[in-house]
Subunit: 253 residues, 2 copies
DNA sequence: CCGCATCATGCAGGGATTTGCACGAATATG
DNA sequence: CATATTCGTGCAAATCCCTGCATGATGCGG
């Protein structure tokens, strides 16, 4: 890994997490702590961050949403996001749905190789502002503010023009019989269309969404390439999905 | 292998991977590291990439990027934004350009009647998430991260489909002779197109942009319906624009 | 075909940078 | 105050870089 690249990565992590821990970075990068410490020292000299015992902090206490953001997104979603993000491979095109879990995927996308992200959510696009290597394609349309996604005919037409390798779908409910569902009719139609344009569709599921149903049907569970679930979900509650032949990816702790 | 060909390949790899490692390239091409290093050195001299120990990285944008720019002269921008927002009338359609000043307009938009906002910036769309009465139309396209706006053919086509009443244009420089300009060619083309689709175009100007010129021309000053300027700009510096018959709106304190 | 200039390439060696390790000092934590 | 990290510095090894030069290919004019 190149030194300059490492420094930008550190800055990215700093922006994303609001802090950097020398030991953990050293682990992640497979380098000695000394090297990281040296980097941090140099970057502190360049006024790029604030050196503290154990790591570093952003120079300006940044946007006030840093603390809120970190609190709002629970560990489970972070883990799901990190896991899903690892499924992205160099050169691929990935479609990111709107939603908080998908935002976590965006935050954890690999930063050491290039790929393309398509999204109809301005929020997701905003998350990727500082991503060093991701090409972002924004799908336009009428903004549905509740979910912050573009909808309508224009969005449908624009989506038809892309062929993503992976679609990370966000839903409000998943049920072995009633399938995947969400609260808005128009949004459901968009999600269905994206799934149909994509080679693979993965849905991230948390406990409270399991075995529930929302008003608007999107797809049957058999239509997805896999469910990504946290490790604390019991095997019993997954059984109906397993018997429906849905591949299940359990996020390891 | 031809030298020029090799350099193109290196640039391709740089774009794809976000990095180039001299040793690996030398291996891949079956050439000595010296040759690659020489290439990298020359390309760095041509400003095609950034030479670092071990290889090369894509050229970092020298200008501070969008979120860094947020800090500059916030009060003035807020006043400009509030003033411009008052120009929006019920039922009208307004196009908001990307940029920090335009973000201020978005924050000050009236909340007691309905209207439509069109924008090609996910950041601006995000500002309007909690706006109670604004319909938001998002223009899609390839995201130009430096300014956080959608660009390219898809954006152009989508823009052609709307006829905004007012376009609030953001620029990096305005000059009586050289007109309005910005730093990116593609972005300039988009701005020009939006202005041509719009009934009226207003440009917000702060002191440091006045009588300056950036690389890419957008429009002549006579093409705008008005300039919105802070009150502390001297009459003398506005004179050339007045004599060009450009209506000038001075923001009262 | 010959001589010459030009250029790309590889090699050698001296210099610069980066990295990891060791050890004593500084700092946090209870 | 005691202990465990964490930090900073000096140092050595590895890696990488640059300069200068030799070699061979290519192109051009005679």
């Amino acid at each position: 890994m190149l030194t300059g690249q490492r420094k930008t990565l550190i800055l990215d992590i700093l922006r994303r997490d609001g802090q950097v821990i020398a030991k953990r970075i050293a682990d992640d990068f497979g380098l000695s702590e000394d090297t990281i410490r040296r980097d941090l020292r140099e970057m502190a000299a360049e006024r790029l961050l604030k050196r503290v015992h154990g790591g570093a902090l952003p120079l300006a206490p940044e946007l006030p949403d840093f603390s809120t953001r970190r609190g709002v997104s629970p560990d489970v979603k972070r883990q799901l996001g990190a896991f899903a993000a690892k499924m992205v491979k160099p050169g691929r095109t990935v479609f990111l749905d709107g939603g908080t879990t998908t935002a976590e995927i965006a935050r954890h996308l690999p930063r050491n190789f290039a790929f393309t992200v398509v999204t109809h959510s301005p929020t997701i696009a905003g998350e990727l502002e500082h991503h060093p290597t991701a090409d972002v394609i924004l799908i336009g349309g009428k903004l549905y503010k509740h979910s912050m996604v573009a909808t309508g005919a224009a969005a449908m037409a624009a989506i038809s023009l892309v062929r993503p390798d992976i679609f990370f779908l966000g839903v409000t409910a998943i049920h072995p019989v009633h399938g995947l569902s969400t609260g808005d009719f128009e949004e459901a139609a968009i999600k269905r269309h994206i799934a149909q344009c994509s080679a693979e569709t993965y849905v991230t599921v948390t406990q409270e969404k399991l075995d529930a149903a929302s008003p608007c049907h999107i797809l049957p569970v058999t239509a997805v390439s896999g469910m990504i679930v946290p490790s604390d979900i019991t095997e019993a509650s997954l059984a109906p999905y397993r018997s429906a032949q849905v591949p299940i990816f359990t996020v390891s702790d």
